[in-house]
Symmetry: C2
């Protein structure tokens, strides 16, 4: 696999000097066209051998291009804010907006290789990690990101010589780290790992380009020309930024008639006011105790509340947060995205809100908007909302793998109950603002919403992230069920009981 | 001063229960009105004695109010991303948008008190720190933020009893820290410090309300009623959100005629191409070396480039970044703010871009837009741009105190040179996009811009953050001067020479 990078390809000085002036102009023009149209974002991953000229090539790109619209991110040791979230958080937080180019140096590949080489990872973990990486990259390319991947390779003897040269030059010695020497000693073990990695992450949406890093002029021209051609062909093929993407095949959606998980719910369940009072106190005390224990164990919690308008999400959330320390939680109401959010993958706005260790984020509506309101109101195209099921499954899996407790609620009421509540809201001064024309408009689409909810539950109810369906015609019943469910999941998730 | 908090004020259960339902409704209504109008943001600082009920009161507010538009920030140990920036960064990064309320628990006051009590701060440092806090708060209130400050106080014996009670109750013991016991032992030393702090930060824009923390009902009602009344009176008095603010008196601005710092510049200075080449290589090598040393010493650098259109900012920036490691810098072009930025103080967008230790941020235009384009084009009101001089001085002082190297350039050309460059740009394909109608419009306001630049330089050229005026009619001369200046300032700033 790597042989392509070992034939010692070279470009002579004359060819290089003839080509560079035009290339720079063309790069600037393409970059400007990208920035003005803001149709898609570009991520260039630069990975590969130590001392293969990755950093130097990236620096050259910075010289040739407009650095106002180009940014390089190198991922060293994670900061404490990063290490408290799933590994992918540090990549999500710096995703470029549409119209911009980001170079990710080493990025998500270096950590896998390091762990594998150090023997911290089994073969099975490695295979799974590669699947995760493919999934992540697929998400980006599905969203329209142009993802380019460059693998820099140099033969062992070139690497050795180069490291020695660097080390003996006082001005270059800083380039060489302990890790580099260690990697050199393990070159022969490293090679099959890299070959496997290249093979298994060489997707059609984001294939690797293996670059021979031996010759400076060759690697600079090859990367720049490829970047330029990729930009151009993408801008020609998809002038409006909408990329046709393959529709993944999912299980058939729930038929609109016949019994469903929703129609089977017993919405008549209720509890008396006095019983509610007793249980409320009991479960809030329990939740408070568990939340303090979770904080101590640095376990973060994410709550998702979905439900029709007036299903009682706000009231349920208030009964939960009452039991929490105000310093430790944040309630995020999800409405229309702002312009920073609109310029990125729709999951970006949720990634950026993930809690630090021990803290809570409560989403009042969530990423499920993609397969609910955005589907029904056609804000998202069918391929977009269809692939969202898988994107959401992957996203939630990452949260759970990191040890975040994820609790998801669908608060269910029937149309009559909703009508009653709308009428009530219009009577109460501080609730009037909650009711808008849009609510009535949404109401007229009840069957479409119900079908969307069915599909959502079927597609995203997973062992590590189950849905809890809450019979919410009776608010008291609903609130107690919500509190109890959170307590139970939290209890199971916190390591080492009190 | 604190006596007001010690008379043991109480509210009986009946009064409390009668008042609370209406109070909650009124709070929700006011909060909703604030959110819908999005005229201003609200920050409530809650500080004071340990065990005085601060956290409990904040939790109560969260129960009574709409937590979707209310967020509490408690500032514990700074994260490493926070400690690598000036202390104020952690507050700036979480400033609420207009329409939202944030509660800052302890916030900027706790650190000053702790340092003073621990003997880490001299009287003079303390006095200076309080001036800084006033300045910071003034910035917020000038920008329209409603800043409320609550100081919770309890007598020593109540504090002692409460801490003991907490400590002996397994469910409350977590509330009591070592620091609390230490503070109790030093109560008598702490008191005069707090009194001094309250006195010296009791500004007219943001006065302290001292709350007796002994009685739970009293403190809850007092804080909530005060918050409600403050919200209401503010919304009545300034329905459009424009707050008349006192215009600080500045030194007279530069007269438009007569010799000025700009007219005295010798724009004929130039260097030959061959000399330029030699110096470019020399200074870039020097800069590269210094930048590596700065990274090692974890010294961050912020560069500001201002100048008329076509003054050569982009070209100069490119000659600087060429010498830097692409992983270590970011070029931020400043154009119109996005909607998250527009909803906050105009300095917020610059605060959020400050580099981590050892890194570089290059601003292609900057916060000086406030006193240049925003002044001339009347995007900012006269009080706004006039007070910006002081705001900018304060901001830059914080950067420099933190050890950030701040280098500011004004690239100066004359109108003839600009006309020549505009014409050139129209000839070069990859420069055409740089030239817009707006450029020609700006050009017609040359005298107004020149007056604004004069004032800017006069008002913001400070010992720790001087302006470097660059004679830029000759690009070669300008670039070398820029490189040399950065090297010199960096050399002086890096501790312990090589």
């Amino acid at each position: 696999m790597l042989c392509a990078g070992e034939v010692g390809q070279k470009i002579d000085k004359k060819t290089y000097n003839e080509r560079v002036p035009d290339l720079r102009t063309e790069l600037l023009l393409a970059q400007n066209q990208l920035h003005v149209s803001a149709d898609f974002s570009v991520i260039a991953v630069v990975a590969g051998s130590d001392a293969a000229g990755k950093g130097q090539t990236v620096n050259r790109l910075h010289q040739w291009m407009d650095t106002r619209f180009l940014q390089t991110h190198a991922f060293d040791q994670p900061s404490d804010e990063e290490s408290e979230r799933p590994l992918a958080w540090r990549y999500w937080r710096v995703l470029p907006a549409k119209g911009l180019i980001s170079i990710f140096l080493n990025s998500w590949y270096s950590e896998v290789i390091r762990a594998m080489l150090a023997g911290e990872m089994s073969e099975a973990d490695f295979a799974r990690a590669l699947v995760h990486l493919n999934t992540f990259e697929q998400k980006l390319t599905d969203d329209g990101t142009l993802l380019l991947k460059y693998w820099f390779h140099i033969p062992k003897k070139v690497q050795k010589k180069r490291l020695k040269n660097y080390a003996s030059d006082p001005d270059q010695a800083w380039r060489v780290t302990e890790q580099d020497w260690w990697n050199l000693r393990h070159y022969d073990r490293l090679r099959p790992i890299c070959e496997r990695l290249l093979k298994d992450t060489n997707s059609s949406q984001a294939p690797w380009l293996v670059i021979d890093g031996t010759d400076r002029r060759y690697r600079e021209l090859t990367v720049s020309e490829h970047l330029l051609q990729s930009l151009r062909s993408r801008m020609q093929s998809a002038p409006t930024g909408t990329v046709p993407s393959p529709v993944p095949v999912h299980a058939a959606e729930a038929a609109p008639d016949g019994p469903t998980v929703l129609s089977e719910l017993d919405l008549d369940q209720q509890i008396s006011r006095s019983r509610y009072r007793r249980h409320l106190v009991k479960w809030q005390a329990r939740l408070n105790e568990l939340s303090r224990r979770a904080q101590k164990k640095r376990v973060a919690t994410v709550l998702v509340f979905e439900g029709a308008d007036a299903a009682g999400k706000g009231g349920a959330i208030r009964r939960v947060t009452t039991a929490l320390d105000a310093r430790r939680y944040e309630v995020i109401p999800i409405a229309a995205p702002n312009d920073e959010e609109r310029a990125r993958h729709y999951l970006w706005r949720f990634w950026r809100r993930l809690p630090r260790a021990g803290d809570w984020t409560v989403f009042d509506r969530s990423w499920y908007g993609r397969v609910l309101v955005e589907r029904v109101e056609q804000f998202a195209t069918e391929p977009q909302w269809r692939r969202a099921y898988q994107e959401i499954r992957d996203f939630e899996e990452l949260l759970c793998e990191h040890g975040i407790v994820l609790v998801k609620f669908w608060l269910h009421i029937d149309p009559d109950e909703q009508a009653k509540r709308f009428a009530e809201r219009e009577q109460v001064p501080y609730k009037q603002y909650k009711i808008t024309e849009e609510d009535y408009r949404n109401r007229s689409k009840w069957p479409q919403y119900e079908a969307a909810v069915q599909d959502m539950i079927q597609q995203t109810c997973l062992p590590h992230a189950p849905w809890t369906l809450v019979e919410a015609n009776d608010k008291y019943f609903a609130r107690i069920k919500v509190l109890r469910t959170i307590c139970e999941q939290l209890h199971d998730a916190i390591p080492g009981k009190k």
